[in-house]
């Protein structure tokens, strides 16, 4: 009986000794994750706006900008990632806090118009440039080409007309 208890105790001790380092490592990792910043203020500042001064936060100098920065610092200290912080800022300040507006409604024009203008410009150029070049080449050819000789029938008719004037 005593031997049995001793064996059970030894097995339990062995299990504790084997699992303890893993448990310790897991606990340390959890603590490290909570304390390690996963985003930087500089990185976030470039993507958000000071909502009262309507300037990028990275250049804004106002009491609201300072308050926003302090709030972001707090979120960074809590170990939140950049996307979590951006979501949190939207929940607190609305979508106006985002440097790039969300792609829906009227904001879509921000994403659609520039490429559309680019494509339209390219299409106009693609249409007009070959025509301009053709016209320029034709004009150059016309200037450089020798005077066409008349066919024999026309030459004969011209001679007849001229001879009438010459008398």
């Amino acid at each position: 009986m005593t031997r049995m208890r001793l064996r059970t105790g030894a097995i339990a001790l062995l299990l504790v000794l084997i699992t303890a380092p893993f448990a310790l490592a897991a606990a340390t990792a959890t603590a490290a994750t909570a304390a390690t910043p996963r985003a930087s203020l500089t990185d976030i500042e470039s993507d958000v706006m000071c909502t009262s001064c309507r300037e990028p936060l990275e250049v804004a100098q106002s009491p609201q900008a300072d308050s926003e920065r302090a709030y972001i610092r707090g979120l960074i200290a809590q170990g939140e990632t950049k996307s979590q912080i951006l979501n949190n800022l939207v929940a607190q300040y609305g979508t106006a806090v985002l440097g790039k507006p969300p792609a829906h409604g009227f904001n879509l024009t921000v994403y659609i118009l520039p490429p559309a203008i680019l494509v339209l410009g390219a299409a106009i150029l693609a249409f007009t440039l070959p025509r301009w070049r053709r016209r320029t080449r034709a004009a150059a050819r016309a200037r450089a080409a020798p005077v066409d000789t008349l066919d024999p029938a026309d030459a004969e008719r011209l001679d007849q007309e001229l001879s009438r004037f010459r008398g």
Binding site: T51, S52, P63, Q64, D66, S67, E68, Y71, A91, Q92, Y93, G94, T95, A96, F106, T109, L113, I117, L120, I124, T128
Partner: protein, 196 residues
């Protein structure tokens, strides 16, 4: 080889086609810009209407706003029948700090007349707003306008701003920027006397 036949365009068409397209695109862009600016909602027409005595209905009366420090929501319509002093504020705003005791003092008087101050936290995060409310011992209800859509209906461009809504739900007075002198006291005395 016979000469290639080129498509015929009249000289007028050729001369004006590209400028016309460019003009049409420019006009379309300007129209789009005008539309965008017009829908920013920062109209100051409420000021003119109130000044004329042509009191407009309070905008966004049914907009549900989250109550500060709670999961509930409240709208201006919930205060129907009461005189409501809406104060738009933010914790980081110096003039708002200066106004807080004036508004709290006014709230004690308003409660006796079936009226209330309604704080609207704007351009602020909830934790800072809650801290502001605690620090200044604010007892009146406070809601948050995260998107700014509610206050923009009043033409708000910043903080602080104060609007007075009568028992019929109409904007009867407003003040942009900080409350000065005894504007609030005088205005409320007049409005409460009218609606008594």
């Amino acid at each position: 080889m016979p000469p290639r036949k080129l498509a015929y365009y009249s000289p007028i068409m050729r001369r004006f086609a590209i400028p016309a397209i460019a003009l049409a695109v420019a006009v379309a862009l300007l129209a789009l810009l005008a539309f965008g600016v017009a829908h920013q909602g920062t109209s100051s027409s409420i000021d003119a209407q109130v000044a004329r005595g042509d009191y407009p209905a309070a905008p966004g009366a049914r907009v549900q706003l989250p109550i500060l420090g709670s999961s509930g929501h409240e709208s201006l319509a919930d205060f129907r029948g009461k005189v409501v002093v809406i104060n738009v504020f933010a914790s980081w705003c110096g003039p708002c700090v200066a106004e807080a005791p004036i508004l709290e003092q006014e709230q004690r008087q308003l409660l006796k007349h079936d009226a209330t101050v309604l704080g609207v936290a704007y351009l602020d995060n909830s934790s800072d707003s809650e801290q502001f409310v605690q620090q200044h011992g604010i007892t009146y209800p406070v809601v948050r306008d995260v998107s700014g859509n509610f206050v923009k209906g009043f033409g708000a461009t910043g903080v602080p701003e104060t609007y007075v809504i009568n028992r019929q739900g109409r904007v009867v007075a407003l003040r942009r920027f900080q409350l000065a002198g005894n504007w609030l006291e005088q205005t409320m005395t007049r409005i409460l006397a009218q609606s008594a």
